[in-house]
Symmetry: C2
């Protein structure tokens, strides 16, 4: 079994209104040294695959098929094999 | 300047309907070896602090004040100092 963690965030050029709202909220709560806040998405996926190489390929396919909008979002991931 | 990355996910005992929908979607698209999908949130925060110890404390305060719902969510983070 493989365990992938996927981190999705907006591309640099894309506005992130949720992040701005959170920054504003934190600033009003007294956290006044914040330069920026970006909000993204995070996924944990457990799945079976023959080996690490196949697992990587499957994970990238899943990410690009459903988890991200390639126009506005970018991602990174890490992947490990789970002991059963 | 410090750069914190915060990963928020549901606690084990909490239902994650979005994750279930994504799992179902991926399965219908032919990814049929998925055991589970969990969806969470991901934040990137840049902020100033006097030193790493203070940065850690500030980040944890921000997370617990606004970023998570402690009843249903759990988190982890990593934090590094940025070269200016």
């Amino acid at each position: 079994m493989y365990f992938g963690r996927v981190y999705v965030s907006y591309k640099q050029s894309v506005l992130d209104p949720q992040g701005e709202v959170i920054k504003s909220g934190l600033t009003h709560m007294g956290f006044n040294k914040i330069e920026s806040v970006k909000q993204g998405k995070y996924f944990e996926i457990k799945f079976a695959a023959a080996d690490m190489e196949q697992a990587k390929q499957e994970l990238v396919k899943m990410i690009e098929a459903l988890l991200i909008n390639a126009n506005t979002e970018t991602y990174r991931y890490d992947l490990k094999e789970l002991e059963d």
